[in-house]
């Protein structure tokens, strides 16, 4: 099974939480669901952290580079 996208992971996490909250799942299944939810939560947080890091890296680069070079001084 390939890595789910962030959105897929988030949707699945939400579904698991809702299902657990309804309390209808048998205990074994609930534990399995919980473990899966925990896994998805970590995955989502890791993705968010990665995205955050990428954004900060890009912002850093944008700040050091001037948008335009200064016009040449008149002769």
């Amino acid at each position: 099974m390939s890595e789910p996208t962030f959105e897929e992971a988030q949707r699945e996490l939400e579904a698991i939480v809702e299902r657990l909250e309804r309390g209808q799942a048998p205990l074994d299944e609930a534990i399995a669901l919980w473990e899966r939810g925990d896994e998805l939560l970590r995955l989502c947080l890791a993705r968010l952290d990665a995205a955050q890091g990428r954004i900060e890296e890009l912002a850093q680069r944008a700040e050091t580079a001037a948008p335009f070079p200064d016009p040449p001084a008149p002769a």
Partner: protein, 406 residues
């Protein structure tokens, strides 16, 4: 006295003496009157009873022989000179012996200053009425005449003044001099002829008509109608410098320009070469200055344009930079917001998951009991001696059922 003819049949024939006498009688009945003319060919002889002279019309040269008793002529003490203008009071007479017609003068009056002035005024009015003195007729003088014509007396100081002034101002000038009588009864015709000859000569672009100072009578030829009309009709512009400042002969009025002296006239017809040089130098200087000024002006304009361009570019650049900064900000904040929102959602889900964790239940002291059939929810599923697995918050253990309570 009755003249009787001879009769040859039908033909009446008169003798010469009879005819002459008859005409003389008829002429003698003509009235006595005043006649104006110039005295010429005055012949006075001590042996003669009469003085003889010819009256000449100054305008067209018509002649009238005249005589006057010598005693009467001498009594007038006129001292007439040849060409002098006079008024003669007399009557026509035919000398019968020779059919010699003449005016028998009873009195002669010198044509005096007053008469001259009156005649001049009359002529002036006539010529003015003909438009000869009109300002509109005046032509401008050429700035650089190819040739200058000078009409003047043959040994006049005026001539010398004109020539030396022209030579000193503009040495390269080409001058054509026509000498003429400038006073006396034949002067007017001479002036007209000289003027025409000079104006007709090739390349003559302007004519100076000049004469030094003189008496009123000396200057009269320059007010002669023929001279005045010739000046007005001249094919090239005429500068008139006749007499002194206060004299105004009529030719001055008809000329294109009037100069007070011959020297002044010469100054009018040729430029001063030194002045030309100075003018040229001045023009060159001012040309240079203008050029410099124009150059400096253009340079300043360019400089200003450069400054404006730079300012404009800077402003555009600043605007662009600000826009980019904003975009950069939004670019950064966009994903951050999204991320925060996502993180919040995920964390919310995480928190909910946390509360649902079976482990947190175990942490509060609960245990999960599993038997052959899975998680044990009811004592019904157990019998004494069954092996069960107990899961705790930390670790677990196996056990056997000792008793079952239902």
């Amino acid at each position: 006295m009755k003249v009787e003819p001879l009769h040859y049949g039908e033909r009446k024939v008169y003798s010469v003496a009879g005819f002459n006498r008859g005409v003389a009688d008829w002429v003698a009945r003509l009235p006595t009157l005043w006649i104006e003319g110039e005295v010429t060919e005055l012949r006075r002889h001590e042996r003669w009873g009469s003085v003889f002279f010819t009256l000449k019309d100054p305008a067209d040269g018509a002649c009238l022989p005249a005589s006057m008793p010598r005693g009467r002529f001498d009594a007038l003490r006129l001292d007439l000179v040849d060409g002098e203008r006079v008024h003669v009071y007399g009557r026509p007479e035919l000398f019968a012996a020779k059919a010699d017609f003449r005016l028998r003068a009873l009195s002669i009056e010198r044509f005096g200053l007053g008469a001259h002035l009156a005649a001049l005024e009359g002529l002036k009015a006539t010529l003015a009425a003909d438009g000869l003195f009109a300002q509109a007729r005046k032509r401008p003088l050429p700035r650089f005449p190819r040739r200058v014509g000078v009409v003047t007396g043959n040994d006049a100081a005026a001539k010398r003044d004109v020539l030396t002034t022209i030579a000193s101002r503009f040495p390269a000038a080409d001058v054509l001099v026509a000498e003429t009588l400038v006073q006396g009864p034949r002067a007017a015709a001479g002036i007209v002829a000289a003027l025409k000859a000079v104006a007709a000569a090739p390349e003559v672009d302007v004519v100076v008509l000049t004469r030094g100072g003189g008496s009123f009578e000396d200057l009269l030829p320059f007010s002669d109608e023929r001279v005045v009309r010739a000046v007005a009709a001249c094919s090239v512009p005429v500068v008139s410098a006749v007499g002194h400042e206060q004299d105004t002969p009529l030719c001055d009025l008809a000329a294109d320009v009037r100069a007070s002296t011959p020297t002044a006239a010469a100054k009018l017809v040729v430029p001063d070469v030194e002045e030309l040089r100075r003018d040229l130098a001045r023009m060159r200087t001012s040309l240079e200055r203008c050029g410099h000024r124009a150059l400096e002006r253009e340079r300043q304009r360019l400089r200003r344009a450069g400054v404006a361009l730079e300012r404009g570019a800077r402003r555009a650049h600043e605007q662009d930079a600000r826009r980019v900064e904003l975009l950069q900000e939004r670019l950064r904040r966009g994903p951050e917001l999204l991320l925060e929102r996502r993180r919040a959602a995920v964390e919310r889900a995480g928190a909910r998951l946390g509360t649902l964790s079976p482990r947190s239940t175990l942490e509060r002291g609960y245990a999960i009991v599993r038997a052959e059939g899975g998680v044990v929810r009811s004592a019904e599923a157990l019998a004494t001696g069954d092996a069960v697995a107990v899961e705790l918050a930390e670790g677990g253990f196996g056990a056997r059922v000792e008793d079952v309570r239902r």
